[in-house]
């Protein structure tokens, strides 16, 4: 009896270990660090949601890859905008369909806009609040009436997604009837492929929570084969060139990197820490790319408090903050020291000519310069003035502002787990400021707490945080316009400058691009001179992909992710050494499985023996 049982187990296990026949077709495997949280576009908020969702929905207009030029997508052309024109009619192409065969129509776009307004979906409201009405004149014509023309009309409203009205409209009544309609809408969780129709290049197949999301190629995708031609002759032809895409959840970079090396995945869809690079470079099948991110890390002052309200003080601090050191040490040169609020990666909008406090100078010079800046105002004095002796700084002591000792103040820095780079920068800044005798302490603080103190209560001295940015720098207005000085307003430093306000207002209204760029440059100059933020660095998107499975990857701002729709399978040569190696590693896993199986058998045998 006992033996029979064991034999049965062994038989089943052996049978189950037989090689699995996978479905035919090419699969592209992507590693993700976290799983999507929802497939509901009204609820989706983080990158992991959008990494999947973005391929199901096509906007009216879109950025093309690499240079982010705005090109028509479902719309037939990009409308010309000007600040005095408030009504727009957009024509749609008529060959686009949803994956269930229903045509993609103007109603689908109008429904989205109207739902955003009706259900007050915060995430999208900024693109729709200035839109008075949106309606479908017919199946392929959309009509917008705006209350004012903002740049976000094109770079927000027209980039909004459509939603399949034939699926969502029947549900609306249900949402509206709920106690809280918004909540009801957001709690709706489509997970079945039937609920998830797509008009983009991919179709949702299944989602195993915590493990993976699987999609397949949309055979009816209208834009397949679309070619982008660039000035330098590069051509990109829209794919996808594979049949399936699997988003595998890896959770730790360690695991993802091993997966990449083993060939389980073709691309890690997040920026990996530079610490991994040397290891990865040793693998000939892996390519590491380094692209600037459209983001910045900064330190902000509370300009409503003394002495931070003093421009000279802020300039002196900016001089002391050795951003070159941060770039070299903290970032290990993966990333760039930043002097303007717009990161250099956003080439079109980045002003190279802004004031660069302390740029390229050793710490000794920086200290002297900072002291100089402060002393020129006549407001600062020291008990012991900082000096430089024999090439080393003798730190100052007892710094006074307007005759009174400056009280100890803190820099709120995010904790190391959130971002070790920012935490480390905070520590460094503390040490640098101490050089001129400032009584400062870096206080690692939970991210949420910083946000609440900085944005909500405005109870802080300085803090270190970061922003992910948009291509169009309308954030220059949001972050520094005096109208944003309110609870949870975006002007966290409480910077106020009427001239700046006027120019910033200009930036967000519709108008010729050249004018806007000039305005953005001017705004950057203001900010660089008056330093409400000290921009610290622009991080880099260090990414890795396998070069032996797919080719045709291209670099762009924020990383190579957009390549996913353009890469082509490498024609697999018979029996390359790489394939052998891969098999070997697969053998290792198999061995592990076998080991576990043996343990199970041994354990049950032992148990049975003991029972007898």
């Amino acid at each position: 009896m006992k033996r029979l049982f064991i034999v049965a187990i062994v038989a089943i296990l052996v049978a189950s270990m037989a090689p699995v026949h996978s479905q035919g077709g090419v699969t592209f495997n992507v590693g993700m660090q976290d799983e999507p949280k929802t497939m509901n576009p009204f609820q989706a908020q983080d990158v992991w949601d959008w990494n999947v969702l973005t391929y199901f929905y096509e906007g009216l207009v879109t950025y093309r890859p690499i240079d982010f030029k705005i090109v028509p997508n479902v719309a037939l052309e990009v409308p010309e905008v000007s600040s005095d024109k408030l009504e727009y009619t957009v024509k749609l192409r008529n060959d686009a369909t949803w994956s269930d065969g229903k045509p993609l129509t103007a109603h689908d776009y109008a429904l989205f806009g109207n739902m955003v307004k009706e259900f007050q979906i915060g995430r999208y409201l900024s693109s729709w609040e200035f839109v008075d009405t949106v309606e479908a004149l017919d199946d392929y014509t959309l009509h917008f009436v705006l209350s004012e023309c903002r740049v976000t009309f094109i770079e927000g409203t027209l980039m909004s997604l459509p939603i399949p009205s034939h699926i969502w409209e029947p549900k609306l009544a249900e949402f509206r009837a709920a106690e809280s309609p918004t909540k009801a809408l957001q709690e709706y969780q489509p997970v079945e492929p039937g609920e998830m129709v797509s008009c983009g290049p991919l179709i949702f197949m299944e989602w195993q929570r915590g493990s993976y999301v699987k999609c397949k190629k949309n055979p009816d995708y209208f834009d397949f084969g679309r070619t982008h031609v660039y000035d330098d002759g590069t051509q990109l032809v829209h794919g996808p060139y594979y049949d399936y895409i699997v988003y595998r959840i890896y959770d730790t970079t360690d695991a993802a990197i091993l997966g990449l090396k083993k060939g389980e995945i073709d691309y890690i869809w997040w920026a990996i820490q530079p610490g991994y690079v040397s290891d990865l470079l040793a693998d000939p099948n892996v390519t590491v790319t380094n692209n600037p991110e459209n983001g910045m890390r900064y330190m902000a002052f509370n300009c409503a408090r003394e002495p931070f309200s003093d421009v000279a003080f802020r300039q002196a601090v900016a001089t002391l903050v050795d951003r070159d050191f941060i770039q070299e040490r903290v970032l290990q040169n993966y990333g760039e020291a930043l002097y303007s609020v717009v990161p250099p990666g956003n080439r079109q909008w980045y002003n190279t000519e802004v004031t660069k406090w302390g740029y390229g100078k050793p710490m000794t010079d920086r200290v002297l310069e900072a002291v100089d800046i402060l002393k020129q105002t006549g407001n600062y004095s020291w008990d012991v003035e900082p000096t430089v002796e024999e090439g080393a700084v003798v730190p100052g002591e007892g710094i006074k502002y307007k005759g009174e000792y400056i009280k100890p103040f803190v820099i709120l820095t995010p904790p190391a787990d959130y971002d070790p780079l920012r935490a480390m920068s905070g520590m460094l800044i503390q040490e640098w400021l101490k050089q001129i005798g400032l009584p400062v302490a870096a206080q690692p603080t939970a991210f949420g707490t910083i946000v609440q103190k900085a944005m909500g209560e405005r109870d802080y001295d300085m803090f270190v945080l970061g922003w992910s940015l948009t291509i169009y720098p309308d954030y220059l207005r949001d972050f520094f316009h005096s109208s944003q000085i309110m609870e949870y307003g975006y002007n966290i430093p409480q910077y106020s400058n009427p001239e700046f306000d006027r120019l910033a207002d200009d930036l967000v209204t519709c108008g010729p691009r050249e004018e806007k760029i000039q305005a953005a440059f001017k705004l950057q100059e203001y900010l660089a001179n008056e330093v409400p933020y000290i921009p610290l660095f622009a991080p880099a998107a260090v990414e890795a992909y396998r070069n032996d499975h797919f080719s045709g990857w291209f670099d762009q701002l924020d990383g190579i992710a957009d390549s996913i729709m353009y890469v082509k399978p490498v024609a697999a040569p018979e029996e390359t050494p790489a394939a052998e190696e891969e098999e070997e590693e697969g053998g290792g896993t198999c061995l592990g499985t076998l080991f576990v199986a043996l343990a199970v058998i041994g354990g049950s045998a032992f148990y049975l023996k003991r029972r007898n």
Binding site: L125, S126, Q186, G210, S211, Q452
Partner: protein
């Protein structure tokens, strides 16, 4: 008092403890700074929109109202919605619970069986090489930071030799293939669980082994062991039936005391192996300020500890007929 009555009494106690824990949780999270909407920041979100979001989460209501709402929802089995996952917390917790139960109970069962067996043997044959070896080995793992052991194991077994997966619970290769049999899936899960389970087992077994050893040594001095020997019973019967059986009682007590502390090991292990269980959930939820989720996962972990205590008590009563309730 009968056993049933005792269990009912204990369940009521557990319930009260849970309410106290919940209240503490509530106070902690509401009194402390930290804005849960922080993670939804978007450069194009206006302050008004933020207010709307806050209202959606009920954060604009007075504290006492939130507390009553919270208790009411608790009694209804509604733990609220996760800020981060935007799904009912209950569903999330229930998704992770089986994985955690598998890992934690698995490691407790294995490590305590191992510890009891080893402790029994080394106490019986005092001073042998086995005693020295297993005590040293066990103590090292007992004192090592568990996540560090986990990292080393990952390094050796997963990274260098590729014998085990680096994390997770289900391999996409197996699970995304519709032809996979249930056995293959079970094997895949075991394959994923093997390393974290070993780490936890290594970390835990020394505790039970040392308690068992001490307790066994004391038991061996008891007169009924002399009686058993005088009766001419075989050594193994004396060791297992008479000595070990009695010596296990303090181990059960020690388990009840240790379990609250040792779930920390479970949490760290889950995090190290990115094992999708409650322990990882609570860490992630905490780091993202997802208080409903952090609270609920904490509550469930606490509940597991309380249930483990109850089980220990019942087991004790089963093992020791002298216990009267």
């Amino acid at each position: 008092m009968s056993m049933q009555k005792y269990i009912v009494k204990r369940v009521v106690q557990i319930f009260l403890t849970l309410i106290i824990i919940m209240t503490i949780m509530f106070i902690l999270f509401r009194m402390m700074p930290g804005d849960p909407t922080a993670f939804m920041l978007d450069t194009r979100m206006t302050p008004e929109h933020k207010a709307i979001i806050r209202a959606q989460f009920g954060l604009d209501k007075p504290i006492w109202y939130q507390y009553l709402l919270y208790l009411k929802n608790f009694f209804r089995g509604n733990f609220g919605r996760s800020f981060y996952y935007a799904r009912p917390v209950y569903d999330l917790v229930m998704e992770k619970l089986p994985a955690t139960l598998l890992l934690w109970t698995g490691s407790y069962v294995i490590s305590y069986s191992l510890g009891i067996t080893l402790g029994k043997i080394i106490a019986w044959r005092r001073g042998g090489k086995l005693e020295f070896g297993s005590t040293l080995f066990g103590l090292f793992f007992y004192c090592m930071p568990i996540f560090w052991v986990g990292l080393i194991m990952l390094w050796i077994f997963s990274y260098k030799f590729g014998l085990f997966p680096l994390g997770g619970l289900k391999g996409p290769d197996v699970w995304s293939d519709p032809t996979s049999s249930i056995w293959l899936k079970a094997l895949d899960v075991l394959h994923h669980v093997a390393l974290p389970l070993s780490v936890l087992t290594l970390a835990f077994f020394a505790g039970s082994m040392l308690v068992m050893r001490t307790s066994m040594l004391e038991t061996l001095r008891e007169d009924y062991i002399m009686t058993a020997r005088a009766k001419g019973l075989p050594e193994k019967t004396i060791r297992d039936r008479h000595a070990a059986r009695n010596a296990m009682l303090p181990v059960v007590t020690a388990f009840a005391i240790a379990v609250a502390g040792s779930v920390g090991g479970g949490v760290l292990t889950e995090t190290t192996f990115s094992y999708p269980g409650l322990g990882k959930l609570i860490v992630d939820a905490t780091l993202t300020f997802d208080y409903p989720l952090a609270q609920a996962s904490f509550l469930f972990i606490a509940l597991m500890v309380l249930v483990a205590n109850l089980v220990a008590d019942i087991l004790y009563a089963y093992l020791d007929p002298r216990i009267v309730y």
